[in-house]
Every structure is written in C-alpha cells, then in structure tokens.
Symmetry: C2
Subunit: 688 residues, 2 copies
C-alpha cells in the first residue's frame, strides 16, 4: 500500500481538488467512515454486532497520523508506535551512511537511549472534531472564481490559528468533506520528535519487491516501531491499543483505523474522462521514464543503490498504483457501474437542486485541459529536494510578510511550523540524484511544451537541460541545513541578496507559478468547489446523510472480514505462513532471503500467519494502520491492497478488493526470533 508521496508530475491541484468529493451510496463493508459518522446501524445489520462509542473513542485516541503520509497507532503507554517498514524507510535511509546501512540491515535500538530521531517526521493524534460548515459558508458568501477560493482559505486560516494557539503541541486543520458539503475542524495533539526503535531488514520487509507489490500471496514483514518523544523523553500515552500477537481467524471481523489519503469516488464522468485520457497516461509515462533513468543511474554502484532505493521504491509504488487506476477506469464493467451510479444520483436528485453541477464541472475540466500541461511542468520543483527547498524559502519569505488570512495555505500560522520543520530538518540529499531529477524535469518541460514555448524560453534561455541542471546543482549550497536556516530567518532581504542559483531560479519563476495557481483557482478550483457543494446537496437529497466522504488523509475507520477472493476460477486463500518464504526465495533480488531468515530457519515458527487479506476498504495513506479485532486489540498492520483495490480510488468492489496486512503474530516472531528486542516484547506485553 502506498504511503502518500509527493509526486512532482501532474499530481496537480486539480487532482487534489477533485479528491474532495462524494462517495456513492455505500454497499456492504464499503466505506472509509469518519469517527463522528460511524454507521452503527448498518454494521449491526450486516454483522450482528458493532463497536460502541467507548470502543470508538478509545481507538480514535490511540490512532496516529504520520506527517510523512502514513498511519500508525500507539501500542504502549510510553509512546511506542506501530507502523509499516515502508513508512520508516525514508527515515532509515536518512540515518544511514556507507558504513551503517539501516535500510539493508534493519535497525534495532535495543534500548530507548539508542532510538534515533527521524528527520521531518511528526506524529499527530486527533483530540476533537467539530463542525464549522456554516462559518466557512458564511465567509464565502456569494463570491465567485478566485475570490471564492481566497475568502474560504482566509477564514480557514483564521479558525486554525485561533483554535490552536499552542503551536508546539497542537495543530488545527479545517477539513473539506463531501467536496464542500461539510467543513470540519480537526484538532490534533502533535509530537514533532519521533524516533525509530525497530525495523527489520529490507529483504524481510520488502521480500518480493516491486514484482510482488499489490499482489498476493505475499511474504513481507512490513512492520516497524517508532516512538513519540516529548521534552526529550518518551511521550506518555496512557490511551493505547492492546498488542495481540495471534493469527487472524478466517471470517472474523476486522477494523482498519487510519488516514486514507485520497479517493475520487465522487468524480463526475467529465473528471474521470480527464483522468483516463490525460492525467493518468501522462503521469505514468513520465514516471516510467524517470524510473528507467533511475534504475540505470543506480546500476550496480553500491552507494547509489543505497541512496536511490527509497526514491525508486516510491516511483515504482506510484507507478503501479496509478497503472491500476487507469486499468480500472478502462474496465468496461467497472466504468459502467460508475456511470450508473452517476445516473442514479441525477435521477433521484432531479428537481431538488439548483443548476447543473455536472455541466459546471465538465466546463471547468475542459478549461483546465488547455493549461494542465503548462501548469504541471512550470509550477513544479522538478522532483528535486533542493529546488523544493528553494521554492519554499522564496515563498515563505514573501508569504510571512502578509497577514495570516492573506497567505497561501501552506504558509498560514497553523501550517507554518510543519513547513518550517520540513525545510530545516537535516536530511541528506544526493547530488547525482538531484541533478538527474532537474535534468529530467527540464528536458520533459521542453519536450512537452516545445522549444518555442515562451515558458520554456524563460526557463532555459539558451541553456540545455543537461547544462542547466549541472550548473544549478554544482552551484547551490542548499544541501546545508545551516544555509537554509539563514535564508529562512533572513526573510526576503536574505533571499534577494542570495547568489544561490536555485534561489535565483525560484525567484525568477515565482511570479509565473503564482499566475498559474491563480488561473487554476479561477477556471477550475472555484467553479468545481461550488459545483461540488451542489452535488453534496444532491446526494443528501437522494440518499440522506448515512454516507461517508471521499478520503482526505484524515482519520477514518473501515470494517470488514478476514476473507480471500476468487480469481480466474481459483480461490485465493486468506493468508500465507512464514515458512512459505523459504519456498519462494530464489537467491536473486528481490527474492533473496533476509539474513535473519536464513540464519534462523530452525527456530522460526513456520506455521505462523505471515500476511493476510481482509475486505476492509482502504487506500494509500492507510499504510501502517492497525488492524483491530472486535475486542479492539491489534492483530495486524495494513500495508497494501491487492491489484483490484487500486480501482478503489473510484469505487469499492467487495468481491475483489482486499486489504493486505502483516500479522502481529509474524511481527512477534520478528521481535522474538529474527531481530530480538526483548525490551519491546516486554513493553508490548504491558510489562515494564
């Protein structure tokens, strides 16, 4: 399962805006439900049992969102956090060097004093949810176009700033649900010191690699433990989930609690057409070429293999996920279901809403088609971490001079601390990878827009993509956190005085980037936001309010069943066992046995459940989510979906969609036999 990763391609604002829409009427076990909208009656009707409010409250208070784009949970009173290995691989890589490769060898702190801080990481727990819909709608009034977006964002920034004055420990976020039908204020307790405690070897966590990703059967120990710290000490987390290292039982109920990143189940036919015809193929094509470049650039060079690993994994994961989406949209029967759902909504809401929101959205999509390519290429940091810093530094300097409610969203008081942390935390960058990313971006920009395009002329002048990338990376000092800190603290004066080539590029591109953003708000975001609010009315009119909003990387709960599926006439079983790893191993990557597996074959419980599937409705961002049983104890960590789940972005098919989780029984084998961590075992048992 993908963690949410920032993609520099065409994951444009349109994709994000389109995400915040409607899910169709929920079928059995479908739904990523909010905690204040859990469908107790529906669950009881389907399963004869449903969790009570106490169960829900306790679970919600133990659920953790990781700012890097994953989910997790507290599993001890001392801030211990269960998540996926692939959610900590970036941290492991940032902490590694040629001498100590924590990705390859895993990480086992042994005791708390040796736990290491993960750069840029932050853990967040929801403490309250309240409705601010009327407040936001009042602020928007009858505004249109860019003015509507400005009015909405200004009011959101005010609410977020006033409701969470303690920026060190709290964070407020106004979440747009049902595409503008509801606005909810989520308050979080935040932990900005998060450390790595335990992670298995890469070859255990990611056995099967990209070929097995999104497939099943799987043999992957995709689990890891972090710990939240406060004031330099393990955080006190009295509310946490009970660790239950047992095998799942076929047919038992499971609950997955986490933060699905984004779904687009409320997309209209026009939006889906744009995805199918333009956005997805274009992104897949660019992802593919970059992937190819990266694979060859890494080659067999040990340093590059280590340095590029996480980036490659991210690209391959995104590729597969998006390819699955494209296939889903091109699947005739799946597409017919989505069309039928739209037709049903139109029919049932006819005469009950104002105007024609479907036509409004189609018009906005068509207007956006004309400049999507330009926006995607020009308003971009080209996949370069260093140029990303430069753009943020330039923007932050300008935005911080404005009043809070006039700033771009990423720079409002409530979001500034995380933005700052991400720019200033020390993270290694690799010159070869930076240069390759910029070279690629510049050459694709020229290719897509043509040499004669004014934006290309402004960007490249008479330089070649290769020459310019080389000049930028060899000349910049932004890899040094102290240099970034000086530019952050120095504000616009320091920025303007800087002779750093990436800062200069970001400065020279800023006006055009802002103009493109404005154009996007005017022709797409504003009309679509207005139309989606009407679609919200249509849906409430047609189906009432027993429904769930599209995913927004906020806390949700999904209920389901431990259950295999049937494919091409073959029954796919619910689980694998750990011993199966030895049969699947070939000695060649990505099927090389992890060292600890090879050394402990005699000791390991080969019959322990390794990975298992369930019908829970999840998506990228849910990675690391605890899998709970009816008692509310943790029996797994969700880390993937099967190939059918990729269509889950647009709709849920209970026959085929499956969540893939690593069992707590397997992780317990990891803690006891493979990578012994007796202190953690005791802590998970509730013993100090």
């Amino acid at each position: 399962m993908p963690k949410i990763r920032p993609l520099f391609f065409t994951l444009s604002a349109a994709t994000i805006a389109a995400a915040a829409a409607f899910a169709p009427a929920a079928s059995a076990e479908e739904g990523m439900w909010t905690f204040d909208g859990f469908p107790t009656a529906k669950v009881k009707a389907e399963h004869g049992w449903a969790p009570d409010q106490k169960w829900l409250d306790r679970t919600r208070a133990a659920a953790v969102r990781l700012a890097g784009g994953c989910s997790a949970s507290f599993v001890s009173p001392d801030g211990l956090i269960l998540t996926n290995h692939h959610c900590v691989i970036g941290c492991l890589q940032d902490l590694s060097s040629a001498d100590s490769d924590f990705v390859q060898n895993g990480f086992n702190a042994g005791d708390r004093l040796r736990e290491k801080q993960c750069p840029g990481q932050q853990a967040e727990v929801v403490t309250s949810i309240s409705d601010v819909t009327m407040d936001i709608k009042k602020a928007m009034g009858d505004a249109k176009g860019e003015a509507l977006v400005k009015a909405r964002d200004a009011r959101i920034s005010e609410i977020e700033a006033s409701e969470c004055p303690d920026r060190d420990k709290t964070r407020c976020q106004v979440v747009t649900l049902f595409g503008g039908g509801q606005y909810k204020l989520y308050q979080y307790r935040k932990y900005s010191d998060v450390r790595i405690a335990w992670a298995p070897e890469f070859n255990a966590a990611f056995f099967g690699g990209d070929p097995d990703n999104f497939n099943f059967p799987r043999y992957a120990m995709d689990g890891a433990f972090l710990r939240a710290y406060e004031g330099g000490k393990p955080a006190s987390t009295p509310v946490h989930l009970k660790w239950n290292p047992r095998a799942p039982v076929d047919g038992e109920m499971t609950f997955v609690v986490g933060n699905p990143g984004s779904t687009q189940r409320g997309m209209t036919a026009a939006q889906r057409a744009f995805q199918r015809e333009v956005a997805l193929p274009d992104r897949l094509i660019q992802l593919s070429e970059f992937r190819g470049r990266l694979i060859e650039a890494m080659g067999t060079d040990p340093a590059r293999l280590r340095e590029g690993k996480d980036t490659l994994f991210g690209y391959e994961n995104s590729f597969k996920a998006l390819y699955g989406r494209m296939q889903a949209l091109n699947n005739a029967s799946f597409a017919a279901k989505l069309d039928a759902s739209e037709a049903d909504l139109k029919a049932k809401s006819a005469g009950k809403i104002d105007g024609d929101p479907w036509a409004d959205i189609e018009q906005a999509v068509n207007a956006y088609r004309d400049f999507a390519k330009v926006e995607g290429q020009i308003d971009s940091s080209g996949g370069s971490a260093l140029y990303g810093y430069a753009r943020t530094l330039v923007r932050a300097a300008a935005e911080r001079e404005k009043p809070n409610n006039e700033r771009l969203p990423q720079y409002t008081e409530s979001r500034l601390p995380l933005t700052e942390k991400r720019v200033l935390d020390p993270v290694p960058t690799y010159a070869w990878l930076e240069e390759m990313s910029l070279r690629f971006w510049l050459s694709k920009t020229r290719e897509k827009l043509t040499t004669d395009h004014p934006d290309v002329q402004a960007l490249l002048g008479k330089e070649s993509p290769e020459g310019m990338a080389q000049r930028l990376v060899s000349g910049t000092k932004l890899a040094d956190p102290a240099v970034r800190k000086a530019l952050w603290d120095g504000g616009m004066e320091a920025i303007k005085a800087s002779d750093d080539p990436l800062i200069q590029l970001a400065l020279s591109q800023d006006a055009r980037s802002r103009a493109l953003r404005k154009q996007f708000e005017e022709v797409y975001e504003a009309p679509v936001t207005a139309a989606q609010a009407k679609l919200a009315d249509a849906r409430f009119a047609a189906y009432g309010d027993a429904n769930y909003p599209d995913a927004t990387f906020t806390l949700r709960i999904s209920y389901g069943t431990v259950k295999g599926w049937r494919e091409n006439g073959i029954d796919i079983p619910t689980r694998t066992v750990m011993g199966g790893t030895y049969d699947r191993a070939t000695g060649a990557e990505p099927y090389v046995l992890a060292k600890a597996f090879a050394e402990n074959e005699a000791k390991i419980n080969k019959n322990a459940t390794y990975d298992f599937v369930s019908t829970n409705d999840i998506i990228g961002g849910n990675s690391g989510s605890p899998v709970l049983d009816k008692e509310g104890t943790v029996i797994g960590a969700a880390f993937d979906g099967n190939i059918h789940s990729l269509g889950g972005n647009y709709g849920y098919d209970g026959e085929l969609n499956r969540t893939v989780s690593v069992s707590t029984e397997a992780i317990q084998q990891g803690l006891e036999v493979l990578y012994p961590a007796p202190a953690l075992v005791q802590e998970l048992k509730g013993k100090k």
Copy 2:
C-alpha cells in the same frame, strides 16, 4: 517522419492486422492512392489539372522502397537514390567505429569506388501490379478460424513463389488491401547491394533533435544519397526522376510518392477503444522506461553515445508518434468525426451486407484483450538483436523443412531471401545494449504477468532478469556472422546441437510462441479478416470504388499543396530558410551548429528554402519519398509530419495535417557548399 521500425513491445500482430482496413470517404487532398487507382477525376475537379498515365508510369518506375522501412527514388541513370538521412543513419552507424564516426561527421564518398555497402539494406522497385482477389478468396472458401488464415497464407506463398522464380533480382508480394476486400500481386525488381554515397553531419541532418521532431518550423537537412549496385557495379536506371534544385512556390501542387507504412483509418470503434485504452498507453509506458534507461546508460560515455544513438532516436521517434496518436484518439472532436464516419457507413450500407461485421470485430477485440499482454511479452525477442537472430534461426530451421505453402509467412520462398540476408549480413551489436534490452524485457515480463504466472516461471525459473540477461549475452556467440551462417546452413540438426544460450532459450520458447500465434489467429486475425471483407462490401455499397485502401507499406501517391496552417490564431509559414539555423543555434545539444554550417556561414545561401510544409497525406514509411511538382521533377524529400499529422493514422484533417520536407535547394547547398560532392552535382545535372 518515422521510418518504420520494428518495435518489440505491443506492436503485435493485432496492430498489423488491424491496419489492413478501410479509409473513410476521402475529403479534398486526402488519400494515399495506389498507382492503379489514382483518382484522376477528383484531382482534376479540385485542382484543374491531374497527371496523365505517362507521368504516373514514369514516376512509379523511379520510386524506390527501402527494405529498412523507408521510401526513396532514383535520381540518376546510374542507380543514385535520394532518401532521408534518418533512413541511412542505421547504415552509417553500422559502418562506424570509434575512429570514424560517420553519424557524427557525415559521409562523403567523393567517388563511387569509396561508396560503402549498407548491411541489411535492399532497394525495391514496383514493376507490375495485378489483381489476385478471386484466386485468394477461392482458396479460403468457407474456412474459419486458424484454418482460414492457413488457407490464405498457403495460397499467397504459392502465388509469390511461382510468379517470381528469379529470387536474386525479383520479389513478389501479395498485398492485402481494404482489409481483405482486395488482394494484389506486386512484383518488384530488387537490388540487394545498396551503398551509401553521401550524408551530412548528424547535427545538420537532425538539428533540433527530438524536441523539434514532429514540430515546425524546422531546420534539418534530412537528406542523403544511396546507390543501387548490380554485379558490383552501379545499377543502370534509365527511368529516374529529374533533380530540380529550386525553392517550392507557395500554393503550387506537390505529389509525394512513397510507401506509407500503416494507417488504421478503417478501424471500428471497438478497435480504436482497444488502441486508446490498452495498446497505446502500454506501449508508451514501456517505450518511456526503456528510453530513460537508455539515456542514462549512454550517459556521457563517448562510445555508448555513438553506439546507442540510432536506437535512442528510434525509441524517441516512436514515442512521439504514438503519443500523438493517443492524443488524437482522446481528442473529443476528432473522435466524434471518426464515430460519425462509422455511423454514416452503417446507415448507408444497412441491408446491403450480410451479418454485423462491427459486432464480429468487437467480439474479437474483447477476446484479444484477455491475452494481448501475454502475447506481447512472451512472443517477443525483447528488443535484442541477438535474441532476434536466435529466434529467426530456430524458426527458419523448422520452417525450411516444410513445404513452401505450409510455412509461416516470413519463411516462404518469396520472403526467405530477405530473412536470410537480415540474419547473415554483418551488423555490429553492442553487448551493453543487448544486455540492457534483455534485462528490461525480462523484468517487464515479470512485472506485467506477475512472478507466479506460468509463462514467467517457464521463462525465468529461479533466475533474476538481471542475472539471466547477463548470462545470455556473455555466453552467446551470435554476434559473429560466421556463427549465424553455420547455424543457418546447418539447419535443425545444428540448432539442436548448439549450446548457445540464446539458441537454447529460443528453442525452449518456440512452442509457446507458436501456440500464442495460433491463438491469435483463431480468436482475432481470422474473425477480423472475415469481418473486414464484409466491411469492404459495405464500403463499396455505400460509396462505390473511388477510394483508397489503408496504408500497407506499398507504393502510394498523395497529391497536395505547398501551404502553411493556422494554429492558436497564428499563421505558420510554409517554409524556413537556411540562415535561420544560425538564429536557432544555442551551442548546446541538440541545437549545436554543424561544423560545416559554422565554417561556411559566409558562403551559404541564407535565403535558400530549407524545410517546407505541404498538405500531402503521408505517414511513417513515407520517409525519404520524393516530393514532385507538376512537371514530375523532384523539389524535396519528405521527412516528417507536423504534430497534427500524427492523428493521420486514424483520419486526415486537411486544415492541420502537414508533410514536412527538406527542399532540393537546401540539399544542393549541402552538395555544393557544405559537404562538396562535385561528382554528385554533375550526376544530378545529368552530366557524366
């Protein structure tokens, strides 16, 4: 303009089969007309003038097809051939070494004795065209499925063998036109000794490189001269075109005579959907990743930059062409035109044909969808020249043991000489490129079909793609033409005794490849062939016979006008002048001035027309076609289309589609000023 290049991706038999269909009713200047079906009345009506039979006969007899996938023409009595530089770049590369780089520096023989033979090249001139439709249809009778394909191919192989008994100098080819509505026997005079006489520097021929490819304005001297030889001497070609080194005149009529490779204008909606949803995105994605790998693998290594240049150009050219097709199919107004054309045909032929060929084709497409991916990956030589040799050697050994009319088409008596020539001609291969190609193919096969697929298990066993590719390339001896010759001559006995790892792989995969081919014939080719014959009836019933068949890489003539177009409110002019090169040059690739341009700035005629556009309806395969004026003299060589022409695969839009040609005036500057070739200048003047 692309020459036709063999792509190992999903340019499956389906794509080819689908090509042989119908063009819609022709609008003004639309059409790739056969020489025995030239629309004299239509042309006269539109232009007030049309060439007479003598004009057509003389032109046909001077038109050359190059077996590598290009077009050309005789322009002197001594076998001198005009074509594009990009049609000879493969030859230049094959003849180059680290010491003499004919791609980079160009090639200028000076006199005939120094002209060098191009490996694998063959020139062919049509000598007669006759109708064999009834003969083939009788042979097919009422056969269905695989039997129909077999019966048709058997009869074709018999006709081709009996009509061209002189295999050294002639070649017979039965061409399927109108998707099976007509079968025509084309007889060719062939020249299997073709030598390179003159080619400019790469930086002159391909100035602007990939960014400018399929765009206009252009500044490219994409012209070159070959010479046909017979018995070691220049061939005598008394019928040839007159070289006319003058600028084209805006609005004058132009004729392009050449071999358009394939169009799909008769595709039904179901076939277009398959292209749009599956075939094109999948190929583009694979092309992109391979392109990325190749770019990085070449890096800045001078040897690899030279060795990989032509391959990279081929991939980039294919990418852009196919991307343009995908965009065309996803363009709403273009798609609506194609749908309307299909609806019109249905309406006008209603009640006049048997059955429902559209439904038959849809059924075949849906059946093919299920195994297209397997076929594309498994029945493939993985882009490896060496594995391609191995597969051909294994197949040829088996097929040559059969009677002519039972062989696979590529191995029938009429086609065997070219197949043999291509296997045995000495062509350099590059181990790094071979290994990369195989590694890529094997890893994509596993990715697309999954590790657990039986075909993947059979192919890889417990090897990794990387390990297996390394083993195959380091172990094979097939790079040596003598080894290939021994295996060709030794037949099946030698093949079976060989311990060459690529031969062994080809042997072990042969049965499965044949089974996939059979399955393809059964579920797709046979029913589609039958349905297309019905569509032929429908079209004749609806529109009569004044139409042209889809392109089949056989000789066609297109008429048009020297004319710019209007885009985004801007008038694009008809031509560029040579002096413009100096303004466009940046000093960085691909805008580096060719050495001869830099050195001869004072001497060159800066006002000479360089490249120009016309409305002629052409497509890949037409590369190198002579552009003729009303007098039948040569005023240019077609080498590209504008970006709109890429939709020309499915339909022609006279407002936007343009052919791009290099003028004879510019090539004359090349011959006189830049790369002086006084002997050629005299020869082109008709003086010895």
